[in-house]
Symmetry: C2
Subunit: 246 residues, 2 copies
């Protein structure tokens, strides 16, 4: 009944080249930092023209598997998180995801991040977070700045949890959701205060290495956000006009 028709990809030369180099990177034959031969040389190696090689390279470049520190050097690189973040963010924007969807996921990612941070953060990291919090205090009332610092605060906590998977997964989501604060703030000025209170309590919990408490306050913090969204009537509205992702 279900015929899995998988149209064989055309074997375009440029595609094959990208594929081959990618394979060598994933296989470990090429390691991050390694420098690749020049385009001309690659051309002769693969038996194609430089133009063809270049098209393949553009694809690898877009994939984030290689990059050019300078136009002269072409080296292997490990995909950067922010690149994936942008891509995922763009996808979500184009999918027109709602605040509800973003919030539901954030309700589990941020508490987890806080819990992990409480268990793994160094005193030094907590100090830096405290500094960030001080900046937030100083920015009370300035919406754009507040949003930016809030993003940073949460990202920092996620980093402190020492879980790269969580970092990768939550970043684009948090970015989109927190940015929605811009639409919420006008309806709920008191949230500035509640945000500060929550952040303070999270920091305190981190200091005590109290995972549960950190988790709890993070959850309350995100719940607050939802109440704000409800006040603003944004629950099922689209989180972001795609243009803003750029």
């Amino acid at each position: 009944m279900s015929l899995t028709a998988k149209p064989i990809q055309h074997h375009y030369a440029y595609h094959q080249i990208a594929e081959e180099i990618q394979a060598q990177i994933l296989r470990g034959d090429l390691k991050p930092g390694d420098q690749l031969p020049g385009e001309a040389e690659l051309g002769t190696m693969f038996g194609v023209t430089r133009s063809t090689v270049r098209e393949g390279l553009r694809q690898l470049e877009a994939d984030g598997l290689v990059h050019r520190p300078s136009p002269r050097r072409l080296e292997v690189t490990v995909p950067q998180a922010d690149q994936l973040t942008t891509r995922a963010g763009r996808a979500m924007a184009l999918m027109q995801v709602t605040f509800r969807e973003l919030w539901q996921v954030t309700m589990v990612t941020e508490p987890l991040a806080s819990k992990l941070a409480a268990l793994n953060a160094t005193a030094d990291e907590i100090e830096q977070l405290q500094q960030l919090h001080a900046d937030l205090l100083a920015a009370e009332g300035q919406m754009a700045r507040t949003i930016e610092l809030d993003e940073q605060f949460h990202t920092r906590i996620a980093e402190m949890g020492k879980n790269r998977v969580l970092g990768l997964a939550r970043e684009p989501i948090a970015l989109l959701l927190f940015r929605g604060f811009a639409k919420i703030a006008p309806f709920a000025p008191q949230f500035y205060k509640r945000q500060i209170e929550a952040h303070s309590n999270i920091i305190a919990a981190l200091r005590d290495g109290d995972g549960e408490r950190a988790e709890k306050w993070a959850r309350m913090h995100i719940e607050d956000f939802w109440r704000g969204a409800q006040l603003a009537g944004l629950e099922d509205s689209i989180a972001l006009s795609p243009r803003a992702v750029t």
Copy 2:
């Protein structure tokens, strides 16, 4: 103290072209399904050669913003989830993430998926899930098949939750983690049974629309997985040799 140096991107022509078209897509001027002009025409429009246009297009193609249904047609498309999944999976593999990292995140995503599924699934969807479960029963002892069906089972549940953000975020993670079952199974043959039990209970909870129970069983299911990983001594081992991601 912190100097935010942002290296001005060189304004390579091919890059500008990709950027410009991308902007028009994100802005909504170009909608998914729209067909773009031929390469030659684009060339004259932007005042560059066809080669240059082509390099830009390769980048957009890799970004998943355009694709060719047939070599003759070039149309705008919304990024496909599986494409993002591959990319994220590749990144995690290259980062050499550990089972612990994957598991920690899965411990919150899968229960959430189950809960949402319980609240949003249609009877029809549950029926399909039941079918999948039957296949799993039939595959007892066959590891590769079991892993495949398990992946499908969880992905299906996530879809039933009607949260695209969660779907996007969890897919690459679940893929890597569940694939690790291959290394665990030999140490813990009893997990086949426990898996089936958990899946049965999740389905039952979905039938009753009981979010809490679905969540609880999902959590127990993933916890089981961790016990298996511990038996196999895999907690902090790298989840996957990058090659397997291809």
